[in-house]
C-alpha cells in the first residue's frame, strides 16, 4: 500500500490524470487554485496532456465541450461564482450528451461571497443548475481519500451515461491534506463511434443542442429523462454510521458529515444513541435508502453548511414517515463537532425525541 499525503485539490488533479484525463481548462479562483496549478505542472508530462488557462470560466467549460466531443477525457474546476458562469456550458454538455467532469470547491455566497468553506451550491448542483431541464451526477466526498476515489469514478460515470458529472466539495476539503491511497483506474469504456474526429471515409456526425422542431425536442427531453431515471435507479450511494440502535439519525454530506461523526462520538459518550446517514451521491439522492431508515428511527436532524438545501431532498424522502429537524451554518462558517453536540443535547431527549418546548 502506497500512502501519500497530499492536499485535496492536488489529489483531484492526480486522480484525474490517473483516470485518463488528458484535457483540463480552468480559470483561477480561490479555494481551488491548486487544481489548475497541479494540472499546469503535471498534464504536459503525460502523453497527450493539454492544460489551458482560459480567459474565463465560460471559456473553460466550452473548451471542455470541444475536448469531450473529440473523445478526450476532460475536466474543469472552479469555485461557486465560477461554477455559476459555467452553467451555460454544463447545459450544453447535458443537451449534447457529452461526458465531462466538473469540480466545485464551494465557498460562501451568494455573489462574490467569500473564500471560506460552504455548502450553498447544493440546489444549483443537484437541480441541473443551468437552463432547459437536465441533471448532472453529483458526488459529495467527505475525505481526501474519497476525493481521489470519486474523481476517478466521476470519469467512468460520465462516460457510461454520457453526462456531466460533478464533484461537490468545499474549500476545506480542497485545502486540507490527508493520507490517500490511489486505487487502480478502470480501463475506459467509451465507443469510438461517439468521438468526433473527422468523418474520414465514413458518415459525418453532428453534435448539437439546437432542435427547432418542438416534437423532436420533446422526444429528446424524454430520452434524457429516461436516462436520468436509470441513473436514479442504479447509481445512488450512501454511507451509514452507528445507525443500528440509533434513536436519532443525523443526515449530512461532505464536510458537514465529518463534523457530524465527531459529534456522534461525543453524543454516544453522553449516552445518546445517535447515528449518521451520509448521502455520497447528491444526485441521484438516495431517497429510498434514506426512507428505509425511517423504519428504525423516528427522528432525523439534517445538518448543512447552508440555510437548508439538502433538507428539501430529505423532506421528499421522509415527510410523513419521520420527524425532521435542521441545523445549518451558512456563509463560510465551519461549525465544530462540539457545537453540533450541544445542538443535539439541547433539542433532543435520550430517546431521540424532540424535547417538548421545541415541538
Amino acid at each position: 500500500m502506497n500512502k501519500v499525503l497530499m492536499q485535496g485539490n492536488r489529489i483531484i488533479g492526480e486522480a484525474a490524470i490517473r483516470a485518463g484525463c488528458r484535457f483540463y481548462a480552468g480559470y483561477p479562483i480561490t479555494p481551488q487554485n491548486e487544481i489548475p496549478e497541479y494540472m499546469a505542472e503535471r498534464l504536459p508530462e503525460v502523453e497527450g496532456g493539454v492544460f489551458i488557462q482560459s480567459e474565463s470560466e465560460i471559456a473553460a467549460i466550452h473548451m471542455v465541450i470541444g475536448a469531450s466531443a473529440a473523445g478526450v477525457r476532460a475536466m474543469t474546476s472552479s469555485s461557486s461564482p465560477g461554477i455559476s458562469l459555467k452553467q451555460e456550458g454544463i447545459s450544453s454538455l447535458a443537451a449534447c450528451e457529452l461526458p465531462a467532469v466538473i469540480i466545485n470547491m464551494m465557498r460562501g455566497g451568494p455573489g462574490l461571497g467569500n473564500i471560506s468553506p460552504s455548502q450553498g451550491d447544493y440546489f444549483q448542483a443537484t437541480r441541473g443548475g443551468g437552463h432547459g431541464g437536465y441533471r448532472t451526477i453529483v458526488l459529495g466526498p467527505a475525505t481526501v481519500q474519497e476525493m481521489a476515489d470519486l474523481t476517478m469514478d466521476a470519469f467512468d460515470l460520465a462516460d457510461q451515461y454520457r453526462i456531466p458529472a460533478m464533484i461537490l466539495a468545499d474549500g476545506m476539503m480542497g485545502q486540507m491534506m490527508e493520507p490517500v491511497v490511489f486505487k487502480e483506474p478502470k480501463p475506459r469504456v467509451y465507443p469510438e463511434s461517439l468521438m468526433m474526429r473527422g468523418a474520414g471515409e465514413g458518415k459525418s456526425k453532428i453534435i448539437r443542442g439546437l432542435i427547432l422542431d418542438p416534437l423532436e425536442m420533446e422526444e429528446h427531453n424524454w430520452t434524457l429523462d429516461r436516462k436520468y431515471r436509470v441513473i436514479a435507479q442504479s447509481e445512488t450511494r450512501h454511507e451509514h454510521y452507528k445507525t443500528e440502535d440509533a434513536e436519532l439519525i443525523l443526515v449530512a454530506y461532505g464536510t458537514a458529515a465529518r463534523i457530524a461523526k465527531g459529534a456522534i462520538k461525543r453524543l454516544r459518550e453522553a449516552g445518546l444513541r445517535v447515528g449518521l446517514f451520509r448521502p455520497i451521491t447528491l444526485w441521484p439522492f438516495p431517497t429510498n435508502e434514506l426512507r428505509e431508515f425511517a423504519k428504525k428511527s423516528e427522528n432525523f436532524l439534517v445538518f448543512e453548511m447552508s440555510t437548508g438545501q439538502m433538507l428539501e431532498d430529505v423532506r421528499l424522502a421522509l415527510q410523513g414517515y419521520a420527524r425532521i429537524g435542521f441545523h445549518g451554518r451558512p456563509g463560510g462558517v465551519v461549525p465544530t463537532p462540539i457545537e453540533l453536540t450541544n445542538v443535539v443535547m439541547h433539542q433532543y431527549d435520550r430517546k431521540g425525541g424532540v424535547i417538548e418546548q421545541y415541538q
Binding site: P28, P44, S56, E57
Partner: protein
C-alpha cells in the same frame, strides 16, 4: 507650520492590507489625490474588481460598488447611462480586464462609454496567488506557467492600451508606472487627465499602470521596480498612446448620423 503632505480627503483612515512594495496602494492614493483636486468626491462612483483591490472601499471614502470578476465596465456602463452627470471610474486588474472581462472592457471602450478605467497591470493574478495573466511576459514563471510563459501555448502578453487605442470610441489612453517618484508624478497627471476627459464628455479613457507585485514575482520591492524598467516596459512601452481632441459638436466623424 505648513503641511506639505497629508492624507487625501477622499481616503479613509485605514491601513492598507497590501503586501510590501505593492503598486495598488500607490495607485489608490493617486486616484484619491486627483478626486480631491478635481473636487468630484460627491459626484463620483467607483466600480471595484475581484482582485487584490476588492477591498478598496476600505480605503476610498467615495461611493463604490463591487462588480463580479471582469464585469466592472458593464456595471460602470449601467451606472453612467443611468446617471450621465456623475463621474464613474472602474478599477481593474489585468486578469479582470484582459482575461475574464475582455469582452465587457472591449465593448465598453467600443461604445465609447464616458467612463474612466484605471487598469493595474502587474503581469500576474495577484489575489489568487500569482497565476499567469494575459499580460505575463513571455518566459515569465508563474504558478500556472511553471516552465515560463510560452507563446505557442499561452499566446502573447496583450497590449491592452495599444489594442484599445484602435477603437474609435476611446479618447484618451496612457500607460504609466509607479516604480519611482518621477513615474508616480507622471501617473498622477495621467489619471487626472483621464478623469478630466470624462468630465469634458470625451468618452472612454483608460490609464494603464505597470504595477509591482513583489510577493508573486518573488522579488524584493526594489528588484520589482527594476524589473518594470528592465523587462516589463520593453513589452509595454510607457507614454501617451492616444489623446483625441475634444469632440466638436458638428461634423465630428465620431458622430454617425
Amino acid at each position: 507650520m505648513k503641511k506639505v503632505f497629508e492624507r487625501p480627503k477622499s481616503m479613509k483612515k485605514n491601513i492598507f492590507h497590501y503586501c510590501a512594495g505593492c503598486g495598488h496602494s500607490i495607485a489608490h492614493r493617486l486616484i484619491a489625490e486627483v478626486i480631491d483636486e478635481l473636487g468630484i468626491r460627491g459626484v463620483l462612483i467607483g466600480v471595484l474588481p475581484a482582485g487584490c483591490a476588492v477591498l478598496a472601499y476600505n480605503y476610498f471614502d467615495v461611493d463604490m460598488i463591487e462588480a463580479q470578476h471582469g464585469r466592472g465596465p458593464a456595471t460602470a456602463t449601467g451606472i453612467k447611462r443611468a446617471l450621465p452627470d456623475r463621474v464613474v471610474f472602474c478599477y481593474q486588474g489585468d486578469g479582470d480586464l484582459a482575461a475574464i472581462g475582455i469582452a465587457e472592457s472591449f465593448h465598453a471602450a467600443n461604445r465609447g462609454e464616458n467612463i474612466t478605467v484605471v487598469f493595474i497591470n502587474n503581469a500576474v493574478y495577484g489575489m489568487t496567488g500569482g497565476q499567469m495573466a494575459p499580460t505575463s511576459m513571455l518566459g515569465q514563471r508563474t504558478t500556472t506557467s511553471p516552465g515560463g510563459r510560452k507563446s505557442l501555448l499561452d499566446g502573447y502578453p496583450i497590449q491592452v492600451s495599444e489594442v484599445f487605442s484602435l477603437l474609435p470610441g476611446t479618447s484618451y489612453i496612457e500607460r504609466c508606472t509607479v516604480n519611482s517618484p518621477a513615474s508616480i508624478l507622471k501617473a498622477k497627471k495621467a489619471i487626472r487627465k483621464a478623469f478630466q476627459c470624462q468630465i469634458d464628455g470625451r468618452g472612454f479613457s483608460l490609464v494603464e499602470i505597470l504595477s509591482p507585485c513583489p510577493t508573486n514575482w518573488k522579488m524584493t520591492p526594489i528588484e520589482s521596480c527594476r524589473w518594470i524598467d528592465e523587462v516589463m516596459s520593453k513589452t509595454f512601452p510607457l507614454g501617451v498612446i492616444k489623446d483625441l481632441p475634444e469632440i466638436k459638436k458638428k461634423g465630428d466623424k465620431r458622430h454617425d448620423g
